[in-house]
Symmetry: C2
Subunit: 139 residues, 2 copies
DNA sequence: TATTGTTATACTCTATAACTATA
DNA sequence: TATAGTTATAGAGTATAACAATA
């Protein structure tokens, strides 16, 4: 039979990784997308919703819903930006930090499982190659 | 800054490839998903809708809609399976074959553009590595 | 005038449940 | 009883348009 298309491979690689990450994060009450936002907001420089949205390549209206969900779970907090009152500074709560601690380890383990069919060298190479294919985050 | 997560890289690699393939296929009046179905149905062995769905890892109800769309465009034809009247044999029409001829070249070019930041060796390696990460199609 | 956050809304993709017809 | 196709429907996930507050 013919080889699978690149699009098929990327789509299904994505699906499989999403399943593994989703299962790994379930005990923490968040999904992969919420984890990505939470991890990004755990930053030394204060980040507005728009900053975060640009970094993740999603729309600012989507970010509103993500931050809403994280705030409902008491994992992040909105506060007004001191110098520009149009902006929110969004930052993890104490609970958010604790959650993130465990969640990072869980996600690392899920990625490791996803890559377990590869040698360490090939796994690293996959990362390097993908980074060269993907436009760097804006901001 | 920290390195992007594997999930981010796979998602955005997918998005970029989809855009390129979508643009390449626009002149043929089909999108990437329809192309995948049409290319799969262009097979020496007759394929039912369920066969095709399993191969692409999508639901059979999704396949109904895809075949509907391709049939409306006169690119495929349903006919009853000679030995099992529960099944449809779905096969490209003459127009489907002609469309596929050009579309394959367009998609190959789009993939090449997607991979253009990589050496030929790295591009081949990406394929090999992804194939090892993705479960092979059922059937 | 432009930017940030927000809301309402709509669109795409996909799956689940229930039905029909065949086996 | 199980399978193939179909329909109706619902759920993610996402974006566009329009608005208020602020710059």
């Amino acid at each position: 039979m013919s080889r699978p298309r690149l699009g098929y491979l990327l789509k299904h690689a994505n699906l499989r990784l999403s399943e593994l990450v989703g299962a790994a994060l379930a005990p923490y009450g968040i999904d992969g997308r919420e984890f990505a936002v939470l991890a990004l907001l755990d930053s030394p420089v204060p980040m507005s919703q728009l900053d975060a949205a640009r970094r993740l390549g999603i729309d600012r209206t989507t970010m509103v819903a993500m931050v809403d969900a994280l705030e409902r779970k008491d994992l992040v907090r909105r506060r007004p930006h001191p110098d520009d009152r149009r902006k929110n500074v969004v930052e993890p709560t104490e609970r958010g930090h604790r959650t993130l601690g465990g969640a990072r380890i869980a996600v690392d383990a899920a990625e490791e499982e996803f890559l377990s069919a590869l040698s360490g060298g090939d796994a690293g190479l996959l990362r390097d190659v993908l980074e060269r294919l993907v436009p760097p985050p804006a901001g």
